[in-house]
Symmetry: C2
Subunit: 236 residues, 2 copies
């Protein structure tokens, strides 16, 4: 369940403040979700609460950590040591949560051999042997878009089934491989979309004018009518 890390973070905050017990209502507020949803999510893990009392904070932290696999040590390889790869290598949040950066790899001879975050950058040729010998189970792809699919192919061939992809491409993977995608520009695009809605109160009123500026050639006069055509409310 994708919300467990959220709950875990809220619980850790409570634990730091010395709070021993929390109700679903309070924890839900802390995590920014509905309390019924929180209880339902937690009930999937087992009956770890006490009616009339709430949840024991430390115990719940332990159970969620175990469910998320954070009581294990996960070896992570980061492929692509550009700005983003460097930031990830230095990102403190990984180590504290059971993730160990086992290797940094890059294709650029300039960066191979340099030291980053206590590791020496290795050549991408070593990818398969690194995965095998250091029991890497999660690969982070922080390469340019053009290189991402090739890296993806190699790591899945090497048996990796969990990939965190920062490259702005949709990776094609065999069945059974999990890809999670972080696209910074998509996040900004979504914000810009909402920002625009706020400013203009919707884009419809400018649609006709904007469509007029369209520099296309084929059949655009007909199509422009579609752009300002009636069957549309002013909302999404």
């Amino acid at each position: 369940m994708a919300r467990l890390p959220l709950y875990l973070r809220a619980l850790n905050g409570l634990a730091e403040r010395g709070i021993a017990t929390v109700s679903s209502e309070d924890l839900a507020v802390g995590a920014g979700v509905n309390s019924a949803k929180l209880r339902k999510d937690l009930s999937h893990l087992g009956s770890y609460g006490t009616r009339g009392v709430g949840y024991d904070v430390d115990y719940l932290i332990y159970q969620i950590s175990r469910e998320l696999g954070l009581t294990q040590d996960w070896a992570v390889a980061i492929v692509g040591v550009g700005n983003l790869g460097r930031a990830l290598a230095n990102y403190g949040g990984f180590v504290s949560r059971g993730f160990r950066v086992a290797s940094l790899l890059d294709a650029d001879a300039e960066v191979v051999g340099t030291g980053i975050a206590g590791l020496v950058v290795e050549h991408i040729d070593s990818l398969e042997s690194v995965i095998r010998e250091r029991a890497v189970s999660i690969v982070v792809i922080a390469t340019p878009a053009a290189a991402a699919q090739e890296v993806c192919n190699r790591v899945t061939a090497a048996g990796i089934t969990s990939i965190l992809n920062f490259a702005p491409v949709v990776l094609t993977v065999p069945d059974g491989v999990d890809v999670r995608k972080v696209d910074l520009s998509i996040e900004l695009q979504i914000l810009a979309f909402h920002e625009q809605r706020k400013v203009t109160g919707g884009v419809d009123e400018t649609a006709a004018a904007a469509a007029d500026q369209w520099p296309g050639t084929v059949g655009m006069s007909e199509r422009n009518q579609g752009a300002s055509a009636p069957p549309r409310g002013g909302r999404t």
Copy 2:
């Protein structure tokens, strides 16, 4: 709609390959979604397709870009110039999509005044004046967790309503403010969760043993029974 950037990327790929027209079926495959969903999403924008033919690639790119506000120039300020802030400042994907980094700000006297990605890092004291004078509409928070809420308070007070947050905290914002959150360690935690499921085939069989290792004190013998209690299938 959060899927528009996905469609846009697929369309740009088609345009690069010189493809002029695409069916909803083909585009849906490229974007990794169901074709009915794609048609429904696009119909929200207007009737830009031609029955029996498909969609004009260039025209659809233009319409989606306009809907997303990418035909405008968005001034973005990045607060926090650690590794991540640096990576973001250098991230090429922003500029090409209408986002311009108008300012880099930090509280650390060591980095203030240094040059990154063609900009000089400014002191956080200038935050409000930078937002006002450079018409910043989106703020990226890449500070440590402890500083994020304070920065958030200041930028919302300064009128910002779109925030991209990389700090691992849930920000409290006034109504009407959009916050999008990117948490790298949460993404990894979700991957680890699935990875663990693959390896163990579910966590249930180890629940009793794991619960035994729990070092808690209060009433744990009773609660452990909850941990290995019956009413649970072996799925999510």
